[in-house]
Amino acid sequence: MTTATALDTHRAAVLAGLSRGWIETRQSFTETAKVIVEAFFSLIYIAVLLMLRRKTMPGTDFSLAATVLPGLLCMSIIFGGIVGPSVSITAEREDGTLLRAKATPNGMLGYLVGKIVMVALSTLLKFVVILVAGIMLVNDVIVDARACLLLTLIFVVGMVATVPIGVALGSVMKSSLQAGLVPLTCGLLVIASGLFFPITVLPTWLQSFVQAFPVYWVGLGARSAMLPAQMVAAEIGGSWRMVEMFAVLGVWAAIGLVLAPVLLRRMARRQSGSAVAEVRARIRSKGY
């Protein structure tokens, strides 16, 4: 008689999760419904770059599109990392995917690995598409070794700081309707975080408020990578504040990595066929 060690069973679940992530990423290119959702934002972002292509910042001859590009890259990370997992986890709780995972030995581990892989791959793809479109369409952005290294670092740190938060939010949201608050909140933060205009024009209390969230720092990081050095003058304290950036994102990553497994496990514990059926009855009678 052979007994399964925890290592064997976890390895099997992680490998299965990797295949799950790949299958679901592939689906986002083959399912019309998913392709439309995935392509929608990228197309809007590219349209924005096209429209701003010939515009310059007021009073300078610096390209307006160049200042917007880092903001768009930041948005792709934030929406991919926070909104992606939170909305899909809520939806998959309602359709019983999570219950299926719960019925499978180490199925939640496989599910989580699959989700991370899927979110990382599809966000990376959107990030690269915007970046390449930006480099082709926009003058005045810097694309050298330092920029590439920094962007890679910011993408990775940005994902690690946001995906666990997205998973945690997806676990606490009670319904798809509630989960709709996540993109709304992220949208408001994006507006207030100075991605598309100098943050220093905002009241100081709002500046301090948004500096508590990852959006501002991922945006700052993207600007520090791609904009010429003199642009730092428009930033708070006239500095790119790299150390602070990695510190704040690190704190968010730590918070998320602690909270996400706890909240996900608590949510999974509550899953049952009756709970799924109840949600379905609610959707049938109320429409959401």
Partner: protein
């Protein structure tokens, strides 16, 4: 190795479940032997799904003792989970996946739980064939018909070669052919793999064909427990005897459910008897009698059945 395969697969004592102020299960007690096939019957809302979900470890019970394969489902770990198969009353997950894709994915989790006795998981293509989904193996799950979807649910439930399977209305939406296939599958699982099977169904004919034992749940407690034959002789008083003699058709309800002595006398006394027919009460008739009796007893103030009596012991 008797220590690894104890004779009792499932043991439920005084199981109670309460939602808010409403008691849904009021003391359910039964056991199942290894390899046994048990059908849980009962009217809508009787508590069948609730019972099964507690045994699967998905719902937390309010009171009572439960052991599934020797482990309390509320504390079941992943190794226990690997020995359990689950088919819920309805699923709609993984719409965008393909049949073989999903089965292959789920099968991977079970491989490390294989033992010398149990080869895990089931070979996916063989399993697809066994449940009759070969033609749809590459179909997207959302395009399956409801019966095909149900076959997939059954396949997923057994892909890990579980020692104990819970089926909640597995054959809902099956055509007659699929029903027959399902019966064969159940026999194969219990006879060859010694799998213990607990299923609910509203198809009494199916219960009679598949199950070694039938349990009737009504208003949160068990009101009958036995084979279809035992239930018929215990709960119905009459077997019906019909015959033709002197050109006339006769009908007689034999008391006690045993028509043998009546028929013996009949044949000795009349030598022109033709078209003799003896019909024992069908499971459907028995079931109706059981449920009616339980409900009238309930409205008279309730009879303390065995299970209810044990509950008061547990709580005392």
């Amino acid at each position: 190795m008797s220590s690894e395969t104890p004779a009792i697969a499932l043991d439920v004592r005084g199981l109670r479940m309460r939602y808010g102020a409403r008691d849904v299960l009021t003391g359910v007690t039964f056991t199942m032997k290894r390899g046994e096939v048990l059908a849980l019957l009962g009217p809508n809302g009787a508590g069948k799904t609730t019972t099964i979900e507690i045994l699967e470890g998905f719902l937390m019970r309010s009171a009572g003792n439960v052991s599934v394969l020797g482990i309390d489902p509320a504390q079941g770990n992943e190794a226990w989970r690997a020995r359990i198969g689950v088919v819920l009353q309805s699923w709609r997950d993984h719409r965008f996946w393909r049949v073989r894709e999903l089965l292959t994915y789920l099968a991977r989790f079970y491989a490390p739980f294989a033992t010398a006795e149990v080869a895990r998981p089931w070979d996916v293509d063989e399993l697809i064939d066994v449940v009759g989904l070969s033609k749809s193996a590459n179909a997207k799950i959302m395009t399956l018909s409801s019966g095909e979807r149900r076959r997939l649910d059954v396949a997923i439930g057994i892909v890990g070669r579980p020692e104990m399977v819970f089926f909640d209305e597995p054959t809902a939406g099956f055509d007659p052919h699929a029903r027959r296939d399902f019966q064969d599958l159940i026999h194969r699982l219990s006879d060859f793999d010694n799998t213990t099977i607990l299923m609910t169904t509203h198809d009494l004919d199916e219960a009679e064909k598949i199950a070694d034992r039938i349990l009737v749940l009504d208003e949160g407690r068990i009101v009958a427990d036995g084979s279809a034959d035992q239930l018929a002789s215990e709960f119905t008083t009459a077997a019906e005897v019909r015959w033709t003699s002197s050109g006339r058709r006769h009908v007689h309800a034999a008391r006690g459910g045993d028509a043998t002595s009546f028929v013996r006398d009949l044949l000795i006394q009349n030598d022109d008897v033709t078209d003799l027919e003896v019909r024992r009460a069908s499971l459907e008739e028995t079931y109706m009698t059981i449920v009616q009796r339980a409900e009238s007893a309930q409205s008279r103030g309730g009879i303390p059945n065995g299970a209810a009596a044990k509950i008061s012991d547990v709580r005392a």
